[in-house]
């Protein structure tokens, strides 16, 4: 009895295990459909393949291979979310299906689901499956996360597979560019091109190489600029250090010959950081009013840090100015500035300015001591035009001068509006206007005992317009006009001034 019951039980169990399960069986019909689908996949008839595979999946056995092929065909039809679902299904049905796993990782990278992609890639790394291809995908995932240094390492690893070397080099060059390692990027691009200029990857590498060469042309460590100019000045004026606040107004016109030079050297460039040094020279000559002849030297140090869409630079300058060969003015200026690109056309600029200025000319009265400190800040807005070759600009600045003499303590409020427009590749037009309100803190003292003067209050308009024409390579010619209109309640500083002239300059 017991034996008979056991036998029945075994038979029941066996029948349960061996019973046909229609939904799981691979029927000849199913097999034919899959074969047709695979043939259509090969011939890139994706719509037909999808129909056949879907039918085979719905009506026949749901095998990991079918899920994998459905994933492939959905990818080809740009239906990546569905492709992901089928590839995940393939892995559920067969966890060691590495072909499906690597395709799933690639799909997840494309869908920006980088963390999930990395999980799949970690499993692939652990299994040792296609290490170079996995490294390439890891690099792409890292690049998407903006982990460019890590991406670079992965792309280096991917290059070990000759079939992937060109693509990996091209991708690595982009990771290097993102780190501002332009020279290395250039070298990597050259290597990518040399591996096959005729391939699509080679063609892209050639394009980026051309772009890189152009970039690097302007990024050598040395740069200089020289210029000579001729102007007519309607009212020769000394105004060192501050735009509107003239120190001495001649009330006379004269012609002005100018010469200038600028030398720049960048000794250090590490990734996005660079350190720049500079020297600038400026000299002018007035045939009639030689007491207004100026010679100025500036040396500077400028750390710069480039971000993805912004730049921070902290220029520090020392300036030394002679007037008629006598020491007249020295200053230290620090102007940290941050420029951020809000959109490709709109930039915001935040600036601050600290200065220590010394005026060395003899003083008639101590109240006229203009030496002192300056502190201020600015907020600017750019609107870029013509692929950033031109722009419109607005900036507001507030500064305060803390001076040794009571006559010069003041706050200035400035509104600057400017623009540069590239008419052609050679001709650029520029203009600016600056309105300055400059109330002074104290009653003006002219040194006459008992005299009562108001608090000095200046309202200054600066305007300029220029046309710059590129004659040949670095050689430019410009014509310009500048206006200074200073309305002051102190007659000494109430003046107008027009400058019109031209300049040749050469830059390298």
């Amino acid at each position: 009895m017991q034996n008979g019951f056991g036998l029945i039980l075994i038979m029941l169990l066996l029948s349960g295990l061996l019973a046909p399960v229609p939904a799981r069986a691979i029927t000849p019909y199913d097999d034919i459909l899959v074969q047709k689908a695979l043939a259509n996949l090969d011939q890139e008839n994706y719509e037909e393949a999808l129909e056949e595979l879907t039918q085979a999946w719905d009506k026949g056995a749901q095998t990991p291979e079918k899920a994998y092929n459905l994933g492939k065909v959905h990818r080809a039809l740009y239906n990546y979310p569905k492709a992901r679902d089928y590839l995940e299904q393939a892995l559920r049905l067969r966890p060691d299906y590495q072909e499906a796993r690597i395709l799933l990782a690639d799909t997840l990278v494309a869908l920006d689901q980088v963390d999930q992609a990395r999980e799949q890639l970690r499993q692939l790394e652990a299994s040792g499956y296609q290490p170079a291809q996995v490294a390439l995908l890891q690099g792409q995932a890292a690049a998407k996360k903006k982990e460019f240094s890590q991406a670079e390492n992965y792309f280096r690893r991917a290059q070990q597979d000759p079939a992937l070397a060109q693509k990996a080099k091209l991708e690595m060059s982009q990771a290097l560019i993102a780190q501002n390692r332009l020279k290395e990027a250039q070298k990597t691009l050259s290597e990518a091109v040399s591996l096959g200029p005729q391939t699509q990857t080679g063609g892209l590498a050639q394009y980026y190489l051309g772009d890189m060469d152009r970039r690097l042309q302007g990024s050598g460590p040395w740069r200089f600029n020289v210029g000579v100019g001729f102007d007519w000045d309607s009212n020769v004026t000394l105004q060192p250090g501050s735009p509107g606040a003239a120190t001495q107004v001649s009330g006379q016109s004269d012609v002005v010959f100018t010469q200038s030079g600028y030398l720049e050297y960048t000794p250090l460039t590490t990734g996005p950081f660079s350190l720049r040094t500079s020297y600038a020279f400026y000299q002018n000559f007035h045939p009639r009013l030689s007491t207004f002849d100026v010679m100025s030297h500036s040396v500077g140090l400028m750390p710069i840090y480039n971000f993805q869409a912004s730049r921070l630079w902290v220029p520090f300058y020392f300036n030394f100015t002679d007037v008629e060969s006598d020491k007249y003015y020295t200053a230290f200026d620090l102007a940290p500035t941050y420029l951020h690109l809000v959109t490709p056309k709109v930039g915001l600029e935040f600036g601050s300015h600290l200065a220590r200025r010394y005026y060395w000319f003899p003083l008639g009265i101590p109240q006229d001591d203009r030496s002192g400190r300056t502190m201020g800040g600015s907020l600017g807005l750019y609107y870029f035009i013509k692929n950033q070759q031109g722009f419109l600009q607005a900036r507001v600045t507030v500064e305060h001068d803390f001076t040794g003499g009571s006559n010069w303590d003041n706050t200035s409020y400035r509104l600057f509006l400017g623009g540069l427009y590239p008419v052609t590749s050679r001709l650029k037009l520029g203009t600016f206007m600056e309105l300055i309100l400059q109330p002074y803190d104290n009653y003006f003292n002219n040194g006459i005992p008992g005299a009562t003067n108001p608090r000095r209050n200046d309202q200054i308009l600066l305007y300029g317009a220029q046309a710059i024409y590129n004659i040949h390579k670095g050689l430019d010619f410009n014509v310009h006009y500048y206006l200074t209109r200073a309305d002051s309640n102190i007659a000494l500083y109430d003046y107008n001034r027009h400058i019109v002239g031209c300049q040749f300059s050469y830059r390298y």
Partner: protein
């Protein structure tokens, strides 16, 4: 004799109303290279088109990874279809006498370049291109549309076109001027118009010939014929990165300004920078 004349007349008539020259033909193939499929009215079986074959509304053109086609429509607009693409002509109505047009094309995958002739009398967009994520409306312009897994990239080479998300509930429309680019992702408003370079236009031209670089069988090694992500490299290759003016050599702000206290007024190119202001070379004026 009458019978012969009748047969000849019937033959002539049949030629006149033959499918190739029917009145609803809206365009012709002017170039067919490699494997290209035509699905008449969107239905199987596929036909292999030849140059000068006509196209009607409802037709679907499918190029394989080595195939390429160019179509010229009745209004002289030209559509170039890159390898690995699928395009449907939903509607195409053109009345030269009235100067009116209503064209709707759907791109399912791949890449196309469209050069659409402008019809002066129309003020509204009369040429619509739909993709899986975007709708483009134009009157006359030249642009490239590249479809990725979850986005459409639109590069406008000339003229002006406006783009919005294909889902009407997604707000925002971006209008592109010449040499501007936008990306439209699933359910997201188009990105702000960003400039692209002439060199990039060269790359696009190249892609129009080569397509995405292969179908499933010629995919990235290791993905086992899974095919590489369509135009996936564009994002990584900086096409999408907003150009930082401080790192763009074409930018007027490429070089940081030189803050030199003297003189204030300089004929430099960029009047920028904090403090004493003024970029560029020192010049006259600050006596």
């Amino acid at each position: 004799m009458h019978t012969i004349i009748s047969i000849l007349l019937a033959l002539a008539l049949s030629l006149v109303i033959s499918p190739g020259v029917r009145a609803d033909v809206v365009g012709h193939f002017v170039e067919v290279e490699g494997p290209v499929d035509l699905l008449k009215k969107g239905q199987m079986p596929v036909v292999t088109p030849k140059v000068q074959d006509g196209l009607e509304p409802g037709d679907i053109i499918r190029t394989k990874s080595q195939g390429r086609a160019q179509v010229k429509f009745v209004d002289d607009s030209v559509l170039t279809i890159a390898p690995g693409s699928r395009v449907a002509i939903e509607t195409y109505m053109y009345d030269a006498a009235k100067g009116s047009r209503k064209a709707v094309l759907q791109v399912f995958r791949g890449m196309v370049q469209a050069v659409v002739s402008k019809i002066i009398k129309t003020q509204e967009p009369d040429f619509i291109m739909k993709t899986h994520t975007a709708v483009l409306g134009v009157r006359g312009t030249k642009w490239y549309a590249l479809l990725g897994p979850n986005h459409t990239d639109v590069y406008n080479e000339a003229g002006r076109l406006c783009v919005r998300n294909v889902f009407t509930e997604t707000p925002g429309e971006v209008c592109l001027n010449a040499m501007e680019f936008t990306r439209v992702m699933y359910g997201i408003s188009p990105t702000v118009a960003a400039p692209f370079q002439q060199g990039e236009a060269g790359v696009l031209k190249q892609l129009l010939k080569s397509g995405n670089g292969g179908g499933l069988t010629s995919g990235t090694p290791g993905t086992s014929g899974g095919g590489q992500t369509p135009f996936g490299f564009l994002e990584r290759f900086g096409f999408l990165n907003p150009l930082n003016p401080a790192t763009n050599p074409d930018s007027a702000l490429y070089k940081p300004p030189q803050v030199i206290p003297l003189p204030h007024i300089r004929p430099g190119q960029g009047v920028i920078g904090g403090g004493g202001g003024g970029g560029g070379t020192p010049g006259p004026g600050g006596s």
